[in-house]
């Protein structure tokens, strides 16, 4: 008996594409995100950056003539104002990162050694601020640090000061706001990495005679290096490119790279200079991130060796 079976369906192009996208292999699963990012981020970004290396004229809102020129790059690089602004942004971001690490690491360590309730409390306190807008949290600092704010009122009531201290609209207000806003971003990666530790390593260290400090320095700290690197990279990037905190807490005398770019785009309509500044901001940020990655790699080398 001869049976005739129907020929197999010719695979259609859409099925093939969906198979690839859902396969979870290679670059295919990332293709939708890459397309979206290319359209909404990469292309506009390249267009914006191109303005930094060109002269253009505008008519009825459209760029009608664009020619290559390095005039704006040279003008920005030779102007002390831009160097000062970038220096201020860089030092602010590095200081914020260092303070966040100093404040965040002990919290993550307490999370590591703490009981169930301590861990829950730390998680709640770390995540809760992230549920509100950064603008609201920054405005809260105006209430606390202002001339008639909670801090000044309290210090005057207990006789520490006669006149309110000027904190808002200074560099210190910006630093305080930045640390508070970005601290959770440092703590969360530290907690994530430190939670994966095998606690037996610490017990072994103690059994071999190490003090608590010795165990912390020689066991816990090296193991948490990836968390420190990730946290530092995140906090640095956010602090270096931050806009809201300096805008609200720094006052009109305070200028960092992001606020300067914003003002050049929106108020001065100096898009070429803003574009050059964006390039500088992005490239200098990348340099520091590469530095953080190299340092982190250096301190995690032995861990990777063991895992390999």
């Amino acid at each position: 008996m001869v049976t005739i079976s129907a020929p197999p369906d010719k695979p259609r192009r859409m099925d093939w594409l969906f198979d690839k996208l859902l396969s979870g292999q290679g670059i295919w699963p990332a293709v939708p995100a890459i397309i979206v990012l290319t359209v909404v981020a990469v292309i506009p970004f390249v267009m914006l950056l191109s303005l930094g290396v060109s002269e253009f004229s505008v008519s009825r809102g459209q760029i009608i003539d664009q020619t290559f020129s390095m005039r704006h790059v040279t003008s920005v690089l030779t102007d002390q104002l831009y160097w000062t602004t970038f220096q201020r942004s860089m030092s602010l971001a590095l200081t914020t990162t260092a303070i966040c690490l100093l404040l965040g690491y002990p919290v993550a360590y307490v999370f590591l050694i703490g009981g169930k309730w301590t861990r829950r409390m730390i998680l709640i306190l770390t995540i809760a601020p992230l549920l509100t807008s950064g603008i609201v949290r920054t405005y809260a600092w105006l209430v606390i640090l202002g001339g008639r704010g909670v801090l000044n009122t309290a210090m005057m009531n207990i006789g520490l000061i006669d006149q309110p201290l000027r904190i808002v609209n200074t560099h210190w207000a910006v630093l305080i706001g930045m640390v508070q806003i970005h601290l959770p971003v440092m703590i969360l990666p530290l907690i994530a990495v430190m939670s994966r530790h095998d606690r037996k390593l610490e017990e072994a260290s103690a059994n071999l005679g190490a003090t608590r400090m010795g165990t912390l320095r020689n066991v816990v700290l090296p193991l948490s290096a990836p968390g420190i690197g990730t946290g530092a990279a995140l906090v640095f990037t956010l602090s270096y490119t931050t806009f809201v905190v300096p805008q609200l807490l720094g006052g009109g005398n305070y200028l960092n790279a992001a606020t300067m770019i914003y003002e050049q785009v929106v108020y001065s309509l100096e898009w070429s200079k803003a574009s050059v500044m964006s390039m500088l901001l992005m490239s200098s940020c990348l340099v520091v991130l590469v530095g953080i990655a190299l340092v982190t790699n250096h301190f995690t080398g032995w861990t990777r060796g063991r895992q390999g």
């Binding site: 505008v58 008519s59 009825r60 809102g61 459209q62 760029i63 002390q80 104002l81 000062t84 602004t85 105006l142 202002g146 001339g147 008639r148 704010g149 309110p164 000027r166 808002v168 609209n169 805008q247 609200l248 006052g251 009109g252 005398n253 305070y254 200028l255 300067m260 003002e263 050049q264 785009v265 929106v266 108020y267 001065s268 309509l269 100096e270 898009w271």
Partner: protein, 348 residues
Amino acid sequence: MRLKRRTILGGLMGSAVLSAPTILRAQTRELVMIGYGNEQDQPLIRAGEELGRRNPGVSLRVIGGLSTEALAQVRAARGDSPYDLAVMGSPAIINALDEEVLEPLNLDMIPNIAHVDPRFPPYGYDTGCPISFEGIGVAYNTETVENPPETWADLWKPEFAGRVGMARPQSNLGLGVLAATSAAFDRAEDDMQFALEKWMELEPLVGRSPPLLQQMLERGEIDLAPLWHVNSALAAGAGLPIGYVKIASPGPLMLPSNIVQFINTADGTSDLVHEFADILLEEESQRFIGGAPFFFGTVREGIEVPEDGRDFVPSTEEERASMTSLDWPAIAPLRGDTVADFDRMFAG
């Protein structure tokens, strides 16, 4: 492919769903406008409602923002303006004209322009229609300042040292105050370098924008600052201890606010924009604009300043006669360079 009834019905329904917004838009015409983003939008909203009553299906959406932000957005949209119209101060019109993003209004299509004080239309620069004006004076804390300044030069009296605030020059307020400073010391209004150096002497606290400057005054960080009269009136009306002086020499200073329309040729809203401007110039609208709590300066002749607004708006014959504005066509193009110079001196 075989067409089934289900396929055809599905296709028809899909098309209907996709085209619904277009059909709805065709039946209703929505004007999108840049306003102030606060209580000051009330006269605009009210006039928009009247426009809707006269033209069924027409509505006005007022979006808060600065007119300079709108210029940046129009440029970012490559000339395809997301807005139909805006309320724009004279300096912003100068900047917008440089960008060629405004379509001049035809004042012949606005009958009520005939009732407008002839001093105001020139500040529309053949492009906008004046609907109100805002004064630039000095707002002060009534609890800490006993004798507020009367002229711009008075701000440099020793008793005010370290107590004065100012707005950054990217705002019309900040730029206007610098020009007034130069004029007060017998310099050309566009001598921004001189004005910046004079302000350096005061070591002022700087507000990034007029609203933030106002907040600094309310929080007691400064005792006095140049401010718009409308902002001062709203703060005083809210019960805050804020007074206002219509500063002279030069002044009282005023900045006309104009209705302007953006290049937006696709949707043909120009007739509605003209009608909207005309509604705002009607006597009843002008009385509302000039009333509490904003006390905008009115541009229509014959509208008296209410009793409560006389501390903020020039009301006497003498004040109205000496009321002046600034040489905005000379000052406005200096905005970018002045901001950079300001940053070198104050934030460098």
